[in-house]
Amino acid sequence: MLNKRNIIDIIYQVITYLAASVGVIALSMIIFFVFSNGLKLLNFGLLVNDYHAEFYNGGIDDPIFTFSHRPISLDDKVFYSQKWGIGLVDSKDREGNPIIIIEYISGDSPLLEIYDKNNEESKEIIGIDKGFLVSKISYYDKNTSLTMYGAESMINDIESTNEIREIVFSSLGGGIRGSIITTLYLISITIIIALPIGISTAIYLNEFSSKNRLTSLLRSLIETLTGVPSIIFGLLGLAVFVPLTIRFSEATSANIVSGSLTLSVILLPIIIKSTEESLKVVPDSFRSASLALGANHTQTTLKVVLPSAFPGIMTGTLLAIGRIIGESAALIFAIGTAVKDDISIFGKSTTLSVHIWSLMKDEPANIELASTIAIVILLIVLTLNIIVKLISKRFIKEF
């Protein structure tokens, strides 16, 4: 009997371990997938750089050639023009597109004389340097050298030319600073909107309302909100909040506020639910005790019940923030997909996950950068997670 029992036990154990390992492996695979695809693009520059590259149209009037030799230290991959004293190399930008980077520029290169062509009067020297991108060089006498043909062809073209009509430099774009900031804005504004309403609602339902038809109707209406797929919220945002914000603010299109409002609606049931749960956990004896001390309902709720529910509400908020960060379907409509660098709350811009979404819509999709942004999202969530845990731990410890 004991043996049979042991065997059954072992079978169950094996099933558990198997299922758990499947679960853990599947989950790790996603993390692994995200990291293996995205890690190589993850660097500080990505986080703080602009998405849009800065372009300079350079002109040069009478170049004086000094013919400097190729330095020996230069890598083989670098193509070099003696005439112009410049070394170029092929590379790829953050979105996986080919780019050409200035790897070397000699001290007496005529290109150092290049001025800003768009500022004809002052002819301000641009002062190009190593690390700049050369996106094209056009000539008077022949076809433009384009990035798509590669650095070698560009060097060949330039080497055989004495005059340049225009040379376009740019910084390296594709940074996600704007999306990060938008995401943070969105989080803050959404929380600022949804938290008070959600908490008030939860308080009303849990503390103030009497048990009647109306209350249960309100409650089930709110619960129904949970079942609405987020894409429908997006349409709601598009149909209601975008016009609303445009009507009542300086906004002219979908904007961070309209996005926040939409997200707020999505979050309301979540916040209400988790707040209600944590209000329910507050022992009734606290309420009775406070009332028995001659406090009124409001004092009881604000001074005793809410603070006790605080850790629970924090956790609920964290969950909500996770939802904000992860939401894309709704935001595509309610805030739009425009990636921007200058963020204003009534302006267009987009969040990290919509950024991922638009990267996926690219032709072809940029899986690597999408994964990198996913890593960033993970890091943000992790940080929030830890912060919330610390706060509520401290809170619990102190009181």
Partner: protein
């Protein structure tokens, strides 16, 4: 029974991949192969075709040895095999010299003249359209993989006509929208045009070809998502998308490539074969390859 040799088994069924009915690429492709009915109609297609987006088709062809699909030439990469069409290799050169026939136009549409908030906006838009026609503009289009139209003057040549560009426009936002296939090109164009035109602020919000017309001159032109410039990756619909004179035009061609798995033995395909594949007449690879 498997006749699989070299990893490719000709007895297998063809898996047909297509874009959805709202896609400009699909419209271009279907008309290119003489299967116009299929542009917006799924019923004429072979059974159990797979609907995917551009990237989806591209990645599917890297996996599915027996699949066939089509994408923009610009997206073509080495993970799949691009087929010659009617014996012509898919290359920009062949598009330019008009031998490669499977292509579609990239179009733009502007707001009606006079329908701008400020005169400056209208002038910047005009300057931008002018820029599209310059060598500088077409360089950028080519750089992004599309096929630019012929031109022989540079921005430097015409910039005198656009005095607006010599003032500081950094407070002016110009909104671009429409086809997302053109988004990359449009972005590259504005990025490079912005410094040339007083640093105006471009705002890109590409949601689909239909929105290109809708939001400039169509039903949403005064809505919250109104745009200054819209793009469409297909011809404008003659019935519903006819704008004011001089507000619509083409900026480039996009070649469409038929792609298959690298293992596939096929290297060339005719329009007729393609139509037969897509309408289900040819369903086994043997029938196509021989």
């Amino acid at each position: 029974t498997s006749n699989k040799e070299d990893g490719f088994d000709k007895t297998k069924t063809v898996t047909v991949y297509t874009r959805d009915t709202s896609s400009g690429t699909r419209a271009g492709f279907m008309s290119g192969i003489g299967f116009n009915e299929a542009t917006e109609d799924n019923s004429v297609l072979v059974d159990r075709f797979v609907t995917k987006d551009n990237t989806g088709i591209l990645t599917a062809m890297a996996t599915d040895e027996y699949g066939i699909g089509y994408i923009s030439l610009a997206s073509l990469n080495s993970t799949v095999k691009g087929l010659s069409f009617n014996g012509v290799e898919p290359s920009i050169a062949n598009v330019i010299n008009n031998t490669y026939e499977l292509k579609r136009p990239f179009n733009y549409v502007l707001r009606e003249y006079g329908d701008y908030n400020t005169i400056e906006e209208e002038q910047i838009v005009k300057a931008f359209i002018a820029f599209l026609g310059t060598i500088d503009g077409s360089d950028i289009i080519s750089d992004k993989g599309a096929v630019s139209l012929d031109t022989n003057y540079t921005w430097d040549d015409i910039k005198g006509n656009h005095s607006i560009c010599s003032s500081d426009n950094s407070g002016i936002t110009i909104k671009f929208g429409g086809s997302d296939s053109i988004e990359k090109i449009a972005k590259a164009l504005t990025e490079s045009f912005v410094p040339k035109c007083g640093d105006f602020v471009p705002e890109h919000d590409h949601t689909g070809s239909t929105d290109g017309f809708k939001r400039t001159q169509g039903s949403e032109k005064d809505g919250d998502n109104a745009k200054h410039v819209g793009f469409a990756s297909r011809p404008f619909r003659p019935d519903s998308e006819v704008g004011a004179p001089g507000t619509q035009g083409q900026l480039a061609w996009d070649a469409i490539v038929v792609i298959v798995h690298l293992n596939n033995e096929l290297i060339d395909v005719t329009a007729l074969d393609l139509k037969s594949i897509y309408d289900g007449t040819l369903s086994i690879w043997e029938e196509v390859i021989n």
